[in-house]
């Protein structure tokens, strides 16, 4: 069986390798600040995946919200709470091996399920090349987000959640 990788597949493998490799560094680096910078690299890899999935608007939002805001917040918190850890103290807890065992088992179950479901004859169309994305998909998304029959109510609930969360965060920090 010969493998002919298309350009699309090579780009997917590259973005996936960056994402996963950086993610592994995030959870294994002892220094939280280093882990935060690897997190940014991993998030940029996910942006590449969104571009490959032909969702450029989501890729832009991802870049702004995650790498712009979330990663900045995390780096800030990592700097503010940076504990000059005692030399020799570890970043992982004593039972890290149990966590690794659970994570590997969960991964095996997920991959097995994926392969079983996708491999079924009924769902062969999952393997097929998908339908093209409509030309005005971003405009359709914007319309749907403010359409009362679409996602206007979920958007309003999300806004309320953001307001409540930010008020809560401010209240927690003001107490001292």
């Amino acid at each position: 069986m010969t493998f002919h990788l298309t350009l699309h597949q090579i780009l997917f493998l590259a973005a996936g390798a960056v994402t996963l490799g950086a993610a592994v560094m995030v959870v294994t680096r002892r220094d939280v600040l280093q882990a935060a910078f690897y997190l940014i690299l991993s998030l940029v890899g996910v942006t590449g995946l969104y571009m490959l999935l032909e969702a450029p608007f989501l890729a832009a939002v991802h870049l702004f919200v995650w790498t712009g805001v979330v990663a900045t917040l995390i780096v800030l918190a990592a700097v503010l709470t940076r504990n000059p850890m005692r030399p020799g103290s570890r970043g992982a807890s004593h039972r890290w091996w149990a966590a690794a065992l659970i994570a590997v088992a969960l991964c095996a179950v997920l991959i097995w399920t994926t392969r079983t479901v996708v491999g079924r004859p009924m769902s062969h169309d999952w393997q097929a090349s998908p339908a093209p994305v409509p030309e005005h998909s971003v405009a359709a998304l914007g319309t749907a987000l403010v359409d009362p029959d679409g996602f206007a109510l979920p958007l309003a609930v999300t806004t309320a959640l953001l307001l409540a969360g930010l008020s809560g965060a401010a209240a927690v920090l003001r107490k001292h």
Partner: protein
């Protein structure tokens, strides 16, 4: 194109790496990064299913956008709690916070 299966397996692996981070790290900020990785994996799954199953519908992208809102607010609240913990107890290690 890449089969949908590849995206699902990648997202599953990313989710499990994040889950390992949440379960194994001692530092609250590092645990938060694990949660962020898990949310990222969820977003990849949502967008992959949108692209391969229903590219004409907007549902998948709208769901992915709400994941962003939840992730942003979760990060803000968690960091406020962490910084508050740091101010009161001068630690961010989870085993010191009982």
């Amino acid at each position: 194109m890449v089969p949908l299966e590849w995206y699902l397996i990648l997202a599953a692996a990313l989710f499990c790496v994040g889950a390992y981070g949440v379960m194994s790290r001692r530092n609250a900020v590092a645990m938060l990064m694990g949660i962020d990785l898990m949310l990222c994996a969820v977003g990849v799954n949502l967008v992959a299913f949108w692209r391969y199953r229903e590219p004409t519908a907007v549902t998948g992208q709208a769901f992915a956008l709400s994941v962003y809102a939840v992730a942003a607010i979760e990060t803000a609240v968690c960091l406020a709690l962490t910084i508050s913990l740091w101010r009161t107890r001068n630690t961010v290690l989870m085993e010191d916070t009982d």
